[in-house]
């Protein structure tokens, strides 16, 4: 099959430009992070050592290699330094949030897929619209709602549901609300895409054969929507593990999340080498979900052809 510019320089140009860009600004930075994670902090410019001095040739290179060490990893993995706890609690918070997102998102996506065709595009746009408005603004909106004198407490007090204001802001509960709220479109869209493709004759056949709706849902609809469930779950889980803004603005001082620890290590303690080690370990934790996510994306793409 003839493809646009299959042969010739045009093809290589189209491939090379984005390829080189990503090599230089996506892959190379990771190698630098890895290298710095093996270095030590020094008071100099740049604030880490050793640096590779190519002018000294081979001797410079061996000196550079001998200066590298895994000391920062030892520091990060030391139980007394709270980083391990932060990794653990990030994974837990992200997992619980993903389950909550599924519970909230699935009924919405399901109802959207069942809605009359004519209003589906409108519903879809209504789900996407909040995603276009700033993430920071959406998180900020919850501060005014959840705080001690916030709108939620005022409403509950006025209704007589509670006598004393609830403490929600600066707790993990607020972090869950924030994550579920900000990531909901990422969950609903892949679920909707999977449910919308569902062949309804399968359900009709099940009903004709006397299968109750609930059983038909669990034996037909849900298994067939699993690709959407997996895509949505990973699309929410992976960024949630490294989330910084939500735990910082809505969480309390005892909310440990690794994205926040990395930020603090970098901006407050100003240790570039330790933050690099934290980033490398975070990437190691996430590499399996990221690869699984890429495979799902790839399969979707092949299926679309």
């Amino acid at each position: 099959m003839a493809m646009a510019g299959e042969k010739g320089r045009g093809r290589w140009f189209v491939i090379a430009v984005p390829y080189l860009w990503l090599l230089a600004l996506f892959l190379a930075p990771f190698l630098i992070v890895f290298k710095i994670s093996l270095s030590q902090d020094v008071v100099a410019q740049p604030p880490y050592a050793p640096t590779l001095d190519l002018a000294q040739g081979w001797a410079g290179f061996t000196e550079f290699l001998s200066g590298l060490s895994f000391a920062n990893y030892g520091y990060v993995l030391d139980f007394s330094n709270e980083f391990l706890e932060a990794y653990g609690s990030s994974l837990i918070i992200a997992s619980i949030s993903t389950v909550l997102l599924l519970l909230v998102g699935y009924p919405i996506a399901y109802a959207m897929a069942r809605a009359p065709r004519s209003i589906q595009p409108t519903l879809l746009m209504l789900v996407i619209l909040p995603f276009w408005t700033s993430f920071l603004i959406r998180v900020y909106a919850w501060i005014g709602i959840l705080s001690q004198e916030g709108l939620l407490n005022q409403a509950l007090l006025a209704l007589g549901v509670i006598d004393t204001p609830l403490e929600i802001l600066n707790t993990n509960l607020a972090v869950y609300i924030g994550i579920v709220y900000s990531y909901l479109p990422f969950m609903v869209l892949p679920l909707y895409a999977a449910l919308e493709k569902l062949d309804l004759t399968l359900l009709e056949a099940a009903a004709d054969l006397g299968c109750p709706p609930a059983k038909a849902f669990w034996t037909i609809t849900f298994p067939l929507s699993l690709p959407g469930v997996a895509a949505g779950a990973l699309l929410c889980f992976i960024p949630a593990v490294g989330e910084f803004v939500i735990p910082d603005l809505l969480g309390g001082s005892d909310t440990l999340m690794i994205g926040k620890s990395l930020w603090t290590e970098f901006t407050v303690n100003r240790s570039w080498t330790v933050s690099s080690a934290v980033a490398v370990l975070l990437l190691l934790v996430l590499v399996i979900p990221i690869v699984v996510y890429q495979n799902i994306q790839q399969r979707e793409l092949e299926a679309g052809k």
Binding site: M1, M3, A4, G5, E6, R11, V14, I15, V17, P18, W21, L22, L23, L25, F26, L27, A28, F30, I32, V33, I36, P46, I108, A111, M112, R114, A115, P121, P130, W132, S134, F135, L136, I137, A141, I143, G144, S147, L151, Y181, L184, A206, A207, P213, I238, P239, V241, G242, V245, G259, L262, F266, S275, A279, P289, I290, Q294, Q297, Q298, G304
Partner: protein
């Protein structure tokens, strides 16, 4: 099961949309509050909007952010479209797996990692941090979103037209601009808009990669938000929400019209 909505479905949609929209609505309402206390309603007022115009720091930050968002999304759209063509049109080539990996990974990569790694790159090559470094960083992470959006259009696209042009001797370069680009234009435009809003919105990557003199609006908002909720911030947010809403609605109406027109033309071509 019949097609159609049950009470459970309607309740899910209503509650879901209430959850999505009530917080934003409250934020907008309280930006018109006369009181400085954001949680106590004291009558309608637009004073906070006027106060914004006096706030030079915020206005400067808004201007920096708009420039970065515009230029970064322009470049990201070109690079992302090229990447999408590479992924869908060029079959296998050495290093394709690495390439698709580098396209998909940034979509889910925690921002703290992307930000830190780009900063360390700029330090390593001794690049002065500021406007340009944020621009480069934004191009890099938004081009992948553009690539995915354009790619999804390219895979569902009828190749016959392209092939016909090529068979008739139209050079590939011209075929792209005459045939392919007009057909995928809605996706390219939504890719551009996605890149624009992502750039407008970004706090973490910009904070890592910026330098003196290039403070973006999210960075300003963030540093004020940390001190608490203020009506000025509500007003800034309301303006941003209004801009985004209007742009998205106009764009979706335009895409829909373009899509209808395209379908009509295709039908006409088939029957004519």
């Amino acid at each position: 099961m019949r097609k159609g909505l049950t009470w459970f479905n309607i309740t899910s949609i209503v509650l879901g949309f209430a959850f999505l929209y009530i917080p934003i609505l409250l934020l907008v309402i309280y930006s018109f509050n006369a009181s400085r206390l954001v949680t106590v309603w004291a009558g309608f007022s637009t004073q906070w909007y006027w106060a914004l115009l006096e706030n030079e720091q915020l206005m400067d930050a808004a201007w920096v952010t708009l420039r970065i968002a515009f230029f970064s999304s322009l470049v990201a759209t070109v690079l992302g479209t090229m990447a999408a063509l590479t992924l869908t049109r060029y079959g296998r080539f050495p290093g394709r797996t690495l390439f698709s990996g580098m396209i998909y990974a940034p979509l889910v990569m925690p921002e703290v990692i992307t930000g830190l790694s780009l900063l360390l790159l700029f330090v390593a090559v001794n690049f002065d941090r500021g406007f340009w470094t944020v621009l480069l960083a934004h191009i890099t992470f938004t081009m992948c979103f553009v690539a995915v959006v354009v790619q999804s259009r390219l895979v569902t696209f009828d190749r016959a037209l392209e092939e016909a042009a090529l068979d008739l001797g139209c050079p590939p370069f011209k075929t792209f601009f005459k045939i392919t680009l007009p057909l995928i234009l809605p996706a390219v435009v939504s890719g551009f808009m996605l890149a624009f809003t992502l750039s407008l919105d970004d706090l973490v990557i910009a904070s890592f990669t910026t330098g003196p003199g290039a403070t973006t609006l999210p960075m300003r908002i963030y540093s004020q938000v940390r001190l608490g909720v203020t009506p000025e911030i509500n007003a800034v947010c309301t303006i941003l929400i209004a801009i985004v809403t209007v742009v998205v609605i106009i764009a979706s109406v335009m895409t829909k019209r373009a899509e209808n027109q395209r379908q009509a033309e295709e039908r006409a071509a088939m029957t004519g």
